[in-house]
Structures are given as C-alpha cells and as structure tokens.
Amino acid sequence: MLIEIIDVIISGLINGSVYALMAVGLTLIYGVSKAFNFAYGSFYSMGGYIAFLLFGASFINNYLVVFCLAVPILLVFGFFIEKFLVAPLRKRDDWEIKVMMITLGLALFLDNSYQVVFGARMKSLPSILEGSFELGEFILSYQDVGIFILSIGGILIFRWFLNNTRTGMSVRAVAQNPAGAQIVGIPKDFVFAATFAISTVMVGMGGILLAQKYFITPTGGWDILVKAWVITAFGGMGSIKGSLYAAFIVGMLEAFVGWYFGMTWTLIALFAVLLTTLAIRPQGLMGKWG
C-alpha cells in the first residue's frame, strides 16, 4: 500500500513536470499575444514523430543528438507558422476567433498527415535511460528520473531565458504592457513569432519526453491539448507561476484518481476541479483580469 502510494506520487511528479513544461508554453503564447493555439497538441505529436524519424536514421542513437536536431526544427516551424498563418489575422477585429479556427484547421491537417505518413499504429521511442534503482519492493526507473530532470531543466532554461536575455525580457515586456513595449521600440511582430516558436519547442520537447512512456499516435495530441489547456486555465491564463503549480496539482490529481477510481475518471475529475476553481475564481489560481 505504502509502496503503491509512493509510486503514484512519483508518477504524478513526473507527469506533472512534463505538463508544466508544456503548459508554460501554452500560457506564454496566451499571455504575450492573447492568441489561442488549437494545434498545440499536434505540435506535441510532431515532437514525438520527429524523434521517431531521427531514431530511424541509423547514425543517430542517442537523445542528445535528437534534442540538438529537434529543437531548431521545431523553433523554425513554430516561427513560420506564426508569421504566415497567425500574424496576417492580427489586423482583424475578430482575429481571436479566426486564430482559433485556423489553428484548428492546422491541427486537422497535421494529425491526418501523420496518419497518412506514419500510419495509425502506435510508435514508440527508445527509453532515454535504461535500468532502475531498486530498494526492496520500491522501484524507480532511471527513465523516469531522466524525464523529470530534463523537463525541470527545460523550465529552468526557459526561466533563465526570460529573465536574462534581451529577447526574453522583450517577451515579458510585450506580455505585461504591449503599448509600453511599442514605445521602447520592441518589434512586437517578432516577439509574437518568437514566443510562438518557443512554445512550439516546449510542447515538442514534452512530446519527445512523454512518447517514451505513452507512445505516439496521430491524434494523441488532443489529450495533451486539453490537459495543457485545463492547466493553464486552472493556474490562470498568462500566469507562468500559476501554470507551474497547476501542472503539478493536475499531475498528482490524475495519478491518484487513476489509481483509485480508474483511468476513465481522470478527465472527469480534472474538469470537476477546473469548474469548481473557475466558479470561485474565474481568473484561475493566479491569473489577473485584463
């Protein structure tokens, strides 16, 4: 029993850490540009498929190489998606809804392209670290440790980037005060595209990390989109700190509900918690109005 509970906690922590990485990306786009990306889940699958393809190439057999190649691919992809699909809509009054529509179309396009290219069958990735740490009945696989460290590392790098680089500061500036950012001469269009690109990298990395445990499927991203969405709304849209807390709460909740009641209840439990939170605090845990 005790061992089981510890297992559940560990699983909650690990999923929570990857959720945090992905939810921070989603909340970042919303916070900076108020755009909502429906294709976020498809970018998650894209990360997994890119890694799958890279591992398919015979000369690549380790994750370091995969990350080094996947990050620039995702970065460039995200940047151009924003530049060519989202940015042209920004001038319109009803651009919010138009962005939702266009990203939804993009999601359908991508998901079904995966299906055609890779087939509907699940794909798996090799484990990032082999072996496990055992203490009596208690088993901790090194894979889980690796995933946890990488996603926390990703978040820390992102934090460093936001606080210490000029581009990172300009991203925060646009999020906090777009008019002020324009006054000091920050090119907003570039910041929007850069933010979109960064968030694409974050969710794509999440895809690579989680695909080791849960496989890659063409439509697997929807589950992730909804979870990332719930987390950002729960934590307060646009609040990075809120998303971090919410991600771990959701990871834990999911692990415990799944363990105690069965996996089918996890989604229902998540929404119950979300709706209760929103009923009490419509702006989420740490969100602000406006």
Partner: protein, 327 residues
C-alpha cells in the same frame, strides 16, 4: 447585413433547396446528402448565432448536438415516447444542460468560455461510454444500434424513401432559420451588436450581457438538441464517433465558408461543405488533410466567407456609420 437582405437571401436559398428533389428525388444517395445538409445547416446557424452574433466562443456545439441525439433516442426507446415528441424533449434536455453549462461559464472571458465548452465536448465521450452512460442506455462504446424511425400520425418515415423526410427536415430547417432571423432582427440582435462593439458601454446602458448570453445559449442549445434528435431518428444508430474532431472541424469549415457572423452564410456553407465532403470521400484518408488545409487557406484568403465576398461585390448603399470617439 441588413435585415431585408437576409430575408431575401433566405427565401432564395430555401426556394432553390425546395425544388432540388425534382431533380434528385430518385437518387437516394443524393437525397441522403441533402438531408444531412439541412441538418448541419441548422447546427451551423445556431453556432453562428452564438459565436458570430453573441460573440461567445462556444465550442460545445457538437456536444449539444450529440446530447440531443442520444436523449431523443433514449427517451423514445425507454419511455415509448413517439419520436416526434421525443425530439422536443431532447431539445428541452439539451437546453437545460446548456443553461447548466452557461451559468458558470458565460461570466468568464473569451478563451475560458472556449475551454469550458470544449471541455464539455471532451468529457462527453468518457461519460457516454462509461458506467453513467451505460446506466442511461447509451450502449457504452458500442453505441445505440436501433432507434425508432420518425413517425407522425401513423406515417413512418423510412430512410429508404428519403423525399418525405427531406421535406420534413426542410420544414424544420426553415423554421429554425426563421427563429434565428427573428432573434437577429429583434432587440436581442441589437443588444448583441452593442455588446460586441463596446461591452462596458452597453452594460452601462443596462444591457445585461449575462442575461442575453444565457438566453441565446439556451435557445441555440434547444434547437441544436432538437435537430440532433431528428438526426438520430433518421440515421437509426448513434455512437460516440460523432465526437471525433472530424465532425467538429467540418462544422467549423461550414462557418468559415459561409462567413462567421454572416447569417445566412452558415446555411450556404453547410450545403457546400457537406457536398464537398462527399465528393472528397473517395480519396479516403487524404480527405481530412484537404479539409484542414482548406480551413487554413480560407481563413487567410476569404476571412468573411462567401457572404463576405458577396457583400464586397455588392456593397451596401448606406455608408458605414461613423463612431464618435472621444479620447
């Protein structure tokens, strides 16, 4: 668009649709597609009323449709209610659920409303498939395989003879579009325009955003649930596959093609999209790819849809009203 234009356009559309069976009446396959067009034109028009006019980013439209279809099927099977009444009961059930969803969520901001309503969509599948659904009679993941066909005063509509059902659906669709037209024309419609332009200002004038939003939410939920019932009794079987993203996007394509907030564009969009979907079906798995690409391209090149294009070609005679802003 001004009201007179909408009315004329509606009359033209329904006039053309009404004579279609003269040409295709003997081809069941085409009649079947036309019935689907009518059903989706209602669902899409309702969505347009919520999203385009009321400015509520609701993503629960397909969910309400599915709720309506399951409700009608279950009510008619369990309690022996005639389908013609059960569709209205289904509309009522959907409206109540719509209000229940609307109460907490219509006070939220745009993206949050999208989230909560989409959450209803996502949560529906595990509910219908799970123990709760089975207890209600949804048949779990198998779905409902036999549903009573529509029956009015002893006359049974069968799917092997689609023309009578086509006219029944046409009647329902005309009625629904008339209701939507009246809503747009009434002071509700004016209130929504005011709310969309300047919510704070309208609220100051005593336009209660929440009240109007809830009313329109309930109305569209009712119509959507009801048409869902008609759908269930027509196709005769239901499964949670309807909740897949495919149908959701199809509905969105309808709005994109027709033009958001450009009623009756949604009706035109429905006919084009459903027909296009059928034409593309021989290419199998490439169809959704093309559909997705189409959404992306259309949003970029034709952001106001066909009706928007129409308005651009035939501009209104009255010039745009100027706003007096003081800074």
């Amino acid at each position: 668009m001004e009201h007179k234009r909408i009315a004329i356009l509606l009359a033209v559309i329904w006039g053309i649709v009404a004579i279609l069976p003269l040409f295709f009446g003997s081809t069941n396959f085409i009649m079947h597609i036309l019935i689907m067009c009518l059903i989706w034109s209602v669902v899409a028009s309702c969505w347009d009323l919520i999203m385009g006019f009321a400015g509520i980013f609701s993503f629960g439209q397909v969910a309400f449709f599915v709720i309506g279809s399951y409700s009608s099927a279950i009510v008619s099977a369990r309690f022996g209610v005639a389908p013609i009444f059960s569709v209205f009961i289904a509309g009522g059930i959907t409206a109540i659920l719509g209000i229940l969803v609307g109460l907490p969520c219509l006070k939220l901001k745009g993206a949050y409303i999208a989230l909560v309503t989409f959450a209803v969509h996502m949560i529906l599948e595990p509910v219908l498939k799970g123990d709760i659904g089975k207890a209600l009679g949804t048949g779990g993941s198998r779905g409902i395989l036999t549903i009573n066909p529509m029956n009015i005063f002893g006359y049974t509509f069968s799917s092997s003879e689609p023309v009578p059902y086509f006219y029944l659906m046409l009647f329902v669709a005309v009625l629904c579009s008339a209701i939507i037209f009246l809503v747009i024309k009434s002071h509700w419609g004016t209130a929504f325009l005011a709310l969309k332009d300047a919510e704070d200002f309208a609220t100051c004038l005593g336009v209660s955003a929440f009240k109007y939003k809830l009313m329109v939410f309930a109305l569209t939920s009712f119509l959507t649930g009801m048409i869902g019932g008609f759908y269930a009794h027509y196709v005769g079987m239901l499964s949670t596959r309807m909740l897949g993203i495919d149908l959701f996007v199809t509905l969105m394509v309808i709005l994109v093609i027709g033009g958001v907030g450009k009623f009756p564009g949604a009706i035109i969009g429905a006919f084009i999209t459903i027909a296009l979907n059928e034409m593309l079906s021989p290419i199998g798995s490439y169809r959704p790819i093309i559909l997705g690409a189409l959404v992306v391209i259309l949003v970029l090149v034709l952001p106001d849809g066909i009706v928007g294009l129409f308005e651009k070609i035939f501009p209104k005679k009255t010039t745009k009203k100027k706003y007096e802003v003081t800074h």
